[in-house]
Subunit: 164 residues, 2 copies
DNA sequence: TATTGTTATACTCTATAACTATA
DNA sequence: TATAGTTATAGAGTATAACAATA
C-alpha cells in the first residue's frame, strides 16, 4: 500500500560529492523524536521528584493503589506493563519506606491486597501536588490544555491496535 | 504561576467509600502516554528490523555516518545523546559486521574518521527501504503526513529549552 | 493443571572514573 | 592542561525460567 510519504524533498539526482543516500532529516523521524521527548519529560519528572526520591514507576504504582486500594500485584503490574517478577522489588521498596503494604486478601490466599499506609496517604497527597506543578509546566510548554489533548490523541493513535 | 489545568472533573467532595484523592486518569498523563507510545514504536521498529538484526541506536549511527562520512566518534555520539564511552561497543559491533570502519583522520591523530564500507553502503540502502515502510506505517496510523508534522511540532515543544 | 508471588539470572542501556596517546 | 578514544565497572530496566503455596 501507498507511495512514499516519508520524503519531503523531490528526489533529485545526487550531486557530485554528496552521499548517495536520500536520508531522513533525523529530526523528523517519529521514533527518534518520541524517544528524545520522553527522556526530556522523564528528566523533568526526576528533577521535580528528586527531593521526594520518587521515580516514575513508583509514582504510577502509588497512584494506582490510591485510585483503587485492594488490587493485587499482578493487576497493577499488568496495567503498567511491568512483569510481575520485576514488580516484587518495586513493591518491596515502597513497603520498606512505609508508604504501601501487602495485606492478606480475603478470598484468594495466594494474592496480596495492596494498600497505602496512613503515612503513604499523606505522601500521595504531597506527591499529587508536586505532580500538578510538573504536569502544568509541560502543558504550558505544549501551548495549553487543548494542545495537550491533541498530543494525547496522536499518541493514542500510535498505540492503537499495536498489540492486537 | 497559573491555576490547575490538570484536572478535568469539577473537584466535588469525595463520596463515602471513594478514595480521598483527586487522581489523574493515568491515560491523560503526558509522560506516561509518551513512554507507552515510544515503547510501541520501538517495538514496531524492532519487528521491522528483526531480519536485519538492527537496533534503533545502530540505525541512527549508520544514518549519520551515511549522511556525512568522516565525522568522528564524539560528534556522532553527541548528536545521538550517547556517552562516548558507550559508543565504543556500538561502533565495535558495526565494524565487526563489516558495515562501518574507523579510519585514521588526517589532522588530529587522536580521532577516528567514521565511514561506511562498500558492504555498509549496500546495507544502508536496504535499511532505508525497510525504514520507509516502517515509518509510512506509523504515518498511516497517525492519519497522514500532516498529523505526523503536528506530532513532531508538539514533541519539539516538549524538547524546547529543556537543556538550556 | 493453572495462577500468585517469589527468587535467581541475564541482557541491554546508561553513567562515571580513570587510563593512553595525542594535542 | 585539555581532548579523543578506550577500559572497567556499576546501576537501572527488563526478560525468562523455575519454584512453593494455593486454587
Amino acid at each position: 500500500m501507498s507511495e512514499t510519504k516519508t520524503r519531503s524533498r523531490p528526489s533529485g539526482k545526487a550531486e557530485p560529492g554528496e552521499p548517495a543516500f536520500d536520508l531522513p532529516p533525523m529530526g523528523s523521524i517519529i521514533g527518534y523524536k518520541l524517544r528524545r521527548a520522553q527522556l526530556a519529560v522523564f528528566q523533568d519528572f526526576l528533577n521535580a521528584f528528586a527531593r521526594m526520591k520518587l521515580r516514575p514507576a513508583e509514582f504510577s504504582v502509588l497512584a494506582l493503589i490510591a485510585e483503587r486500594p485492594g488490587q493485587k500485584q499482578t493487576e497493577i503490574a499488568e496495567k503498567l506493563g511491568i512483569k510481575r517478577a520485576n514488580f516484587v522489588a518495586l513493591m518491596d521498596g515502597l513497603e520498606r519506606r512505609g508508604l504501601a503494604e501487602r495485606q492478606k486478601a480475603m478470598g484468594d490466599k495466594r494474592s496480596h491486597a495492596l494498600r497505602l499506609t496512613v503515612e503513604g496517604s499523606a505522601f500521595v497527597k504531597r506527591m499529587l501536588a508536586v505532580w500538578n506543578e510538573h504536569e502544568n509546566g509541560l502543558i504550558e510548554k505544549l501551548g495549553g490544555p487543548a494542545e495537550r489533548d491533541r498530543l494525547i490523541v496522536l499518541l493514542d493513535r500510535l498505540l492503537a491496535r499495536s498489540g492486537e
